[in-house]
Structures are given as structure tokens and as C-alpha cells.
């Protein structure tokens, strides 16, 4: 049964400056989307952390589960050829 004394939970993402990725900042409770946006502004951007905000209802986020971690992530551990370790840097360049 729905917990009636809690409002919907929302996840907050902040963009620190134009062009940067939105990064997860935390979560909060709010009754609807515009209140969620206001709460996000008040809770997470009081110290100049951002110029833009996303709020997403937490139950809209699809997350991988711990039980899946082995089959999801372990196989990439020995695929060292997927990283650019063996790539020779062109002369004169310091990073790519």
C-alpha cells in the first residue's frame, strides 16, 4: 500500500554550467513536478552549484540490480583490449 504520509520521491540532477553533463545530486520529496523543481532549487543549489536542474520521479529510473552485477559487469574485467592501452600516441600530441 502507498505510504500516505510521504510525498513522491524525486531524483535531482544538476548541470553546473552550460554544456556540462547533468550529474546526480541526491533525492527529495515533493507532491508534483513543479514543486519538485522548486524543492530541488532550495535543497541543492543554495551555494551556486548549478545553472540548470532536472528532476525525475525515482520510480521512473530503471536500475540494474545487485544480483545482475556479475553477469553485467564482470565480463568486461579481462577485456583489456577495449581500453586504449596499446594505442601509440601520435607524435607531438599530449592527450587525445
Amino acid at each position: 500500500m502507498e505510504n500516505l504520509n510521504q510525498l513522491t520521491q524525486w531524483e535531482v540532477f544538476i548541470q553546473s554550467k552550460s554544456g556540462s553533463p547533468y550529474e546526480h545530486a541526491g533525492s527529495l520529496h515533493a507532491a508534483d513536478k513543479s514543486m519538485a523543481l522548486q524543492n530541488a532549487r532550495d535543497v541543492y543549489t543554495r551555494r551556486g552549484e548549478g545553472r540548470s536542474l532536472w528532476v525525475v520521479p525515482s520510480d521512473c529510473i530503471v536500475a540494474s540490480s545487485n544480483e545482475d552485477a556479475e553477469e553485467f559487469f564482470d565480463p568486461s574485467e579481462d577485456k583489456i583490449y577495449r581500453t586504449p592501452n596499446f594505442y601509440k600516441m601520435p607524435k607531438g600530441s599530449t592527450n587525445i
Binding site: L28, A30, A31, S34, M35, Q38, N39, D42, V43, R46
Partner: protein
């Protein structure tokens, strides 16, 4: 009435309004209905303290008698405070505080906007910064009122009770005295009646969306700008000024 004196008095009125509204909101600290709202209320309180400080600093400069902004805030008694009666009213429940905040912001926003055309550069500067904050305060309180009105019977009832109680203090915000006359002539301030249309447009829009109706009241109470206050201000100042009165000049 010379312009300098009138401007000093007007600055004190603006400062006192913000100081008292901020102090009332600060009383919500740790008592907000939810954590998010507790932070929002105290954020708004701090915005208003900041605005009060700017106006007090300017008032201290105008007064030019060695008194500081702190002296103005903490060493004047209730008959020397010029804030509007609305902001000194006790907090009541969350709907009541929200209504109070809404009515004040609906008044302050057009006032600050109009003061952008002031011939006084400092006043213009302070209000151009403050108007951004007050816009948010208005939005915040408006959103809540609309939700109270469309929430439960109880939330609608409580916000209507708040409006019934507080509406009588709204005329007081538009009350003017000789100071206003002098400042209007000097092009520093405005005839407050000119922002009443904007105030009424805001409240009518939000009250319609929130299913609230303005009460028929003949019990209009005014006097704030002439330092005539309700019984609540003295009690508030006792608490707010206690430390500076008991330990003059105390710093931290």
C-alpha cells in the same frame, strides 16, 4: 520634510519590512512541515535578512551619525519601527504563514520593479538585486496556495481562514505619509497606489486558481508606516533584540 529625511525613513520602512518578515520566517526553522520546506522557508528568511541588511546599511549611511546598521535593527523600539502590520503577524499554521508570505511578495515585487526607475542610484541597485529573490518568493508561495486550494477540504479551509484574517492588513502596505509625498516629488519613490493594480492582478489570479475568495471586511487596520503597530511587534522585538540589549555591542 526634506528629501534626505524622507529617504531615510523610507529605507527604514523597507528594511523593517524585510527584517520582521525574515524574523517570522526564521521562527519556522526546524518546524517546517517537511525537510525540503524547512530549507525553503529559511532560505527565503535569509534572502529577506540580506535585503534588510542592504537597506539598513544605506539608512546608516544616510543618517551619518555614527550609528550602524546593527544599531538600527537592534536598538530601536516598536514605535520606531516602520514595517507594515502584515509581516509582524504571528505565523499561525503553514497555510497562514504561506498566505502572509504571498501577500507580502505580491506587494514587494511590483514595488521593487517600480523602484528600478528611481532617481536614487543606491535604492535602484538594492532593489534590482532584491527583485530576483522576491520573484522566487512569490512563485514559491503562489504554488503552495494553489495546492492548498486544490488539495483537501482541510487545506482549502485553512488557507481561506488565513486570507480572512490577513486581508485586513493589506491596505496598510499601500498607506502613504508625508515621506512618500516628498519622495514622489523628488522622483525617488512612487505613488504606492500605482502598484495596487499589479498587486490585485496577482492576488486575483492566484486566488482564482486556489478557489479562495477575498473577504468582505470593514475592519481594515493601518498604521505601520507611522510606527503604529499591533500588539505582536513588541513581543517579537523583545526576543529579536534581547542579546544586543542585554550585552550591548556583543559580537561573534
Amino acid at each position: 520634510m526634506n528629501t534626505q529625511e524622507a529617504l531615510l525613513n523610507f529605507c527604514l520602512r523597507l528594511a523593517d519590512n524585510n527584517m520582521i518578515a525574515a524574523q517570522r520566517l526564521a521562527e519556522w526553522c526546524s518546524r517546517g512541515p517537511i525537510l525540503e520546506e524547512d530549507l525553503a522557508l529559511t532560505n527565503i528568511s535569509l534572502d529577506l535578512f540580506g535585503q534588510a541588511e542592504n537597506f539598513y546599511e544605506y539608512a546608516a549611511t544616510l543618517q551619518n551619525n555614527g550609528k550602524t546598521a546593527d544599531d538600527l535593527a537592534f536598538l530601536r523600539s516598536e514605535r520606531e519601527y516602520f514595517n507594515n502590520l502584515l509581516v509582524e503577524q504571528p505565523n499561525g499554521d503553514f497555510a497562514f504563514s504561506t498566505m502572509k508570505q504571498f501577500l507580502y511578495a505580491a506587494f514587494a515585487k511590483p514595488l521593487y520593479e517600480a523602484l528600478q526607475a528611481s532617481k536614487d542610484e543606491t535604492l535602484k541597485g538594492i532593489t534590482s538585486k532584491a527583485v530576483k529573490e522576491i520573484k522566487y518568493h512569490l512563485r514559491h508561495s503562489s504554488e503552495w496556495l494553489v495546492r492548498f486550494g486544490n488539495g483537501t477540504e482541510e487545506s482549502l479551509k485553512r488557507s481561506q481562514i488565513a486570507l480572512n484574517e490577513l486581508w485586513r492588513y493589506t491596505d496598510d502596505m499601500f498607506l502613504m505619509n508625508d515621506n512618500d509625498k516628498a519622495l514622489i516629488e523628488a522622483g525617488i519613490s512612487i505613488d504606492l497606489n500605482t502598484i495596487k493594480t499589479s498587486f490585485m492582478a496577482t492576488v486575483n489570479e492566484i486566488f482564482k486558481a486556489a478557489h479562495l475568495s477575498i473577504p468582505e471586511t470593514n475592519n481594515i487596520i493601518t498604521g505601520g508606516c507611522n510606527a503604529i503597530h499591533s500588539e505582536h511587534l513588541g513581543v517579537m522585538l523583545c526576543e529579536m533584540q534581547y542579546l544586543q540589549r542585554a550585552h550591548p555591542g556583543a559580537q561573534w
